[in-house]
């Protein structure tokens, strides 16, 4: 799958899927998704959402931890 097709897929998937609590991906998150497309694409839709949401939570937690070293 080329990057443009993958980008279209992830955009439509995350924007169209109404399941909370994962709002549409940011540009940064979308790029991260594309980097790992082969691994990520094998999961069913609900699990994709859970994974995406979990990674967002990890990033937020890591951001909080990073404040300790500034």
């Amino acid at each position: 799958m080329d990057a443009r097709t993958a980008d279209a897929e992830v955009t439509s998937f995350f924007v169209a899927d109404p399941l909370p609590p994962c709002p549409p991906l940011t540009a940064e998150e979308r790029a991260a998704f594309l980097d790992n497309y082969r691994w990520f694409s094998k999961f069913p839709p609900l699990q994709k959402l859970r994974i995406a949401y979990r990674q967002r939570q990890v990033a937020l937690y890591f951001q909080r931890l990073s404040r300790g070293i500034r």
């Binding site: 940064e28 994974i51 990890v58 990033a59 937690y61 951001q63 300790g68 070293i69």
Partner: protein
């Protein structure tokens, strides 16, 4: 832990377990960039582990306990520099003593590990070893993707900011 870790307990459990087992590794890649304060995002984790067999065994034991499956079997693992650990978490594992830059410069695990920073969350018993920012910049030079260049610029800006005297 689910309630106070925002639903990402598996990742945190893995990092806690590695710390408790004394696995010699550093978290590199974009997750380390985030921990240094760079506003980026990643879906996977990059570990640089010391390739000593006992160290690797300890890593695999903890990964197995959390259901993470290696991408290569144990026999093949001895001869490859890199493999994945996967379930619905993805970890890229580099098991080399050193990286060699195109300039001929060597980045040695023991030196990077000795200069590492340990980020802690005492409440969770979590310790995350990450390279010093100067070493992370060097490691980012191994990648040749546009995003690696962007990360290097961002890390250099953070480094300059840290070196600036406070109040200036």
């Amino acid at each position: 832990m689910e309630s106070d870790s925002g639903g990402f307990q598996r990742e945190i459990e893995l990092l806690i377990a590695l710390g408790r087992a004394g696995v010699r590794y550093v978290l590199i890649g974009r997750q380390a960039c985030i921990l240094h304060g760079l506003p980026v995002h990643s879906f996977d984790y990059d570990f640089w582990v010391h390739p000593d067999p006992a160290n690797l065994d300890a890593l695999l034991r903890e990964a197995d306990a959390l259901g993470l499956v290696p991408s290569v079997d144990r026999d093949r693992m001895r001869s490859v520099p890199f493999f994945h650990l996967e379930n619905d978490t993805k970890v890229d594992v580099w098991k080399v003593r050193e990286f060699l830059l195109a300039t001929g410069e060597r980045i040695e695990f023991d030196e990077v590990h000795a200069r590492r920073m340990d980020l802690r969350d005492e409440e969770k018993g979590l310790v995350i070893p990450i390279p010093a920012i100067e070493d992370l910049i060097l490691l980012k030079r191994l990648g040749k993707r546009p995003k690696d260049e962007e990360d290097i610029k961002g890390l250099q800006a953070i480094l300059e900011q840290r070196r600036r005297p406070q109040g200036s």
